[in-house]
């Protein structure tokens, strides 16, 4: 099933990019969350998939008997999920504060740090 999931990941990435290209900060954040999902899935899929064999060793045993899922991508993805959540929440705080302070959620109106250039060229 890996190739099918690869195509699903492509769809998720395309949707995420589409959302992140929006000028609306909220849609950008939705895209950000979606991109996190896609990236986590792609790490998971790149480590290959195994059905019905979680990487849990039976009680009393020292090693696996038979097939088992690759544990390394799972460990990588597990922390990535939590970090992704932390960053999303942080970005939401920023969006909310931007709205409170600037009165907009449109990114091309958030220009306080980098205002539009004056039309007049500086005299040399």
């Amino acid at each position: 099933m890996e190739p099918v999931l690869a195509i699903l990941i492509g769809v998720l990435v395309a949707v995420a990019v589409w959302l992140m290209l929006s000028r609306n900060f909220v849609r950008l954040l939705l895209g950000f969350a979606m991109l996190g999902n896609a990236v986590n899935l792609s790490i998971f899929v790149a480590g290959r998939l195994t059905r019905a064999a979680p990487p849990l060793i039976a009680d009393g045993a020292v090693a696996f008997e038979g097939a088992y899922a690759n544990p390394l991508p799972q460990a990588l993805v597990l922390t990535a999920i939590v970090i992704g959540f932390g960053l999303l929440a942080f970005a939401l705080v920023l969006a909310w504060q931007a709205h409170v302070r600037l009165g907009t959620v449109l990114t091309d109106e958030m220009r306080i740090a980098e205002p539009l250039p004056e039309k007049k060229e500086p005299a040399s």
């Binding site: 849990l56 922390t79 909310w96 409170v100």
Partner: protein, 139 residues
């Protein structure tokens, strides 16, 4: 947003969720669970409390300010490095000791468990802090 049913359910559910989170934390080394998952479950208990009774109630559940909980967690995780240094082992090498309960049963205690408790506290503290930041009304 708060309703009578929600508050009644929360009173019953929140302690259960906390117990569940501790259970998940404890068994994580051998079965699905661990500090991250336990921390998220505990945080969702706090979130539920916050939705039902307001942000102040969620913070009361933690005893400490959420950022302080996260700080304690980081400190605990760092503390788990110390024993290996004391024994002259490579940094973060795990150390285990078995607490005998008689009848051949024992509880394994080790630095990875302390580390996992640190992870648990960081996740709880951080998630609650972020939710608190989002709930904060500037007026």
């Amino acid at each position: 947003m708060s309703s009578l049913i929600l508050r009644a359910a929360t009173r019953a559910l929140a302690p259960l969720l906390i117990l569940l989170s501790l259970f998940l934390l404890w068994r994580g080394h051998n079965e699905p669970g661990g500090g991250f998952i336990g921390g998220l479950v505990a945080a969702s208990a706090a979130a539920l409390q916050g939705i039902a009774f307001g942000p102040a109630a969620a913070r009361r559940m933690l005893w400490l300010p959420p950022a302080a909980v996260a700080g304690v967690g980081l400190a605990a995780a760092l503390l788990s490095i110390v024993p290996s240094a004391l024994f002259g082992l490579p940094p973060m090498a795990a150390l285990w000791s078995k607490v005998d309960l008689g009848d051949g049963a024992y509880i394994p205690l080790g630095t990875p468990l302390l580390f996992d408790v640190g992870v648990f506290l960081v996740v709880v503290g951080s998630v609650v802090a972020l939710i608190a930041a989002l709930e904060h009304k500037p007026e």
